[in-house]
Amino acid sequence: MDRLTYIIVAVAAYLILAPLAGGLLAGVDRRITARMQGRVGPPILQPFYDVFKLFEKEGITVNKVQDFYIQCFLIFIVITGCFFFAGGDLLLIIFTLTLASIFLIVAAFSSNSPYAQIGAERELLQMMAYEPMVLITAIGFYLVYGTFNISDVVAGGGPAIVYLPGIFIGFVYILTIKLRKSPFDLSMSHHGHQELVKGLTTEFSGKTLALIEIAHWYENIFLMGFVYLFFAWSAPWSPILAVLICCIIYFLEIFIDNNEARVKWQLAINTSWIAAATLGFVNMLVLYFIVF
């Protein structure tokens, strides 16, 4: 398969499979969560029902522009994932992801609604909290493989985790923020109850909300792809191992979600920054000794 064909196949597969896998993942997540709480929980396909239902609802909006931003949010999340699975440049991917998130935040700001605005503010704070670690993760890969290109990373001679244990832990730490799991579900929670009502998504309903949900599915799969990167190398069986680890990590996130109270923003930013500044820093320091 030449490079172009590979890219086309990968992007097509991502476009089609990611929402399916993402929705399913969400369904399994809800089911496991329910079981952890001693309940039966919804059907596995529930997230799909939810989204289909949202598409059936009446269209309402608080201004003429918020839907546009949300559409852009979805588009750029999808583009991020496409870049990723096409083996693109890690930094490019991170910046595109940031762009997408900014669209979401701006959408919330645009409504000028109290809880949406505070949600946006907190979302921003969370971005500020995780951004350093995400960048450090990319840099970590670069230090190991000498390239930001994912296609070269996965073709590397050994799994990155061997060189990046600290960065991996740091990444999993902020993954909790990205997946909007307790203790860091500050700006909006998948669960109904919280001090910000629905935070960021307060003013979105119907199809718009459905788009956000779908975007989250895409995003989650892409994030799992990130975890995958740590365990992928040229060995033929490494994909199986890596996917397995992704499952374990996701389960871990569910476990964490069910184990913690939602903390306040101070703790969220303090700990994420400390994680980045210690785990990331030390790991990079060690790598430099190896590299230079």
Partner: protein
């Protein structure tokens, strides 16, 4: 450090049977004492009207002319007061509740009528949910 303090409990729950009672797939069995809805043995009723007077929400109406005893189901608070005051003990508290309904239903029972005039609770079109099972009729 107390980070995963509830870990044990949730892992146990994950692998054990959930606590869910699975209503309505499995119908709930109520306690004998459960206060559900009021039944009247209309033939025994002497239409004295005490129950109507004592009922704190005025749910019961006794019409001597029509020889009819009626209860506004959506008004009864299951306090059991009427049962306690009925001089002939023709009222009783059954342990199943009145079904939810799209209208405020009133059940009327006429005395000495050949057939009891109790209209069945209007059962709306069967619920669309897979798991739906009919709740046992209460009247």
């Amino acid at each position: 450090m107390g980070l995963f303090s509830i870990g044990n409990m949730i892992i146990r729950s994950l692998f054990n049977k959930p606590a869910t009672l699975m209503y309505p797939v499995i119908p709930r069995v109520y306690e004998e004492k459960t206060r559900g809805h009021i039944n009247v043995d209309i033939e025994a009723c002497v239409l004295c009207g005490i129950c109507s007077k004592k009922c704190p929400t005025h749910a019961i109406l006794v019409d001597r002319k029509k020889k009819e005893w009626s209860i506004a189901r959506m008004q009864c608070i299951q306090c059991n007061c009427c049962v306690e005051y009925c001089p002939v003990n023709c009222l009783s508290m059954a342990n199943t509740y009145t079904s939810p309904s799209t209208e405020k239903i009133t059940d009327a029972y006429a005395k000495a009528a050949p057939e009891p005039a109790a209209k069945p609770v209007p059962e709306a079109a069967a619920p669309v949910m897979d798991a739906a099972v009919d709740v046992e009729p209460t009247v």
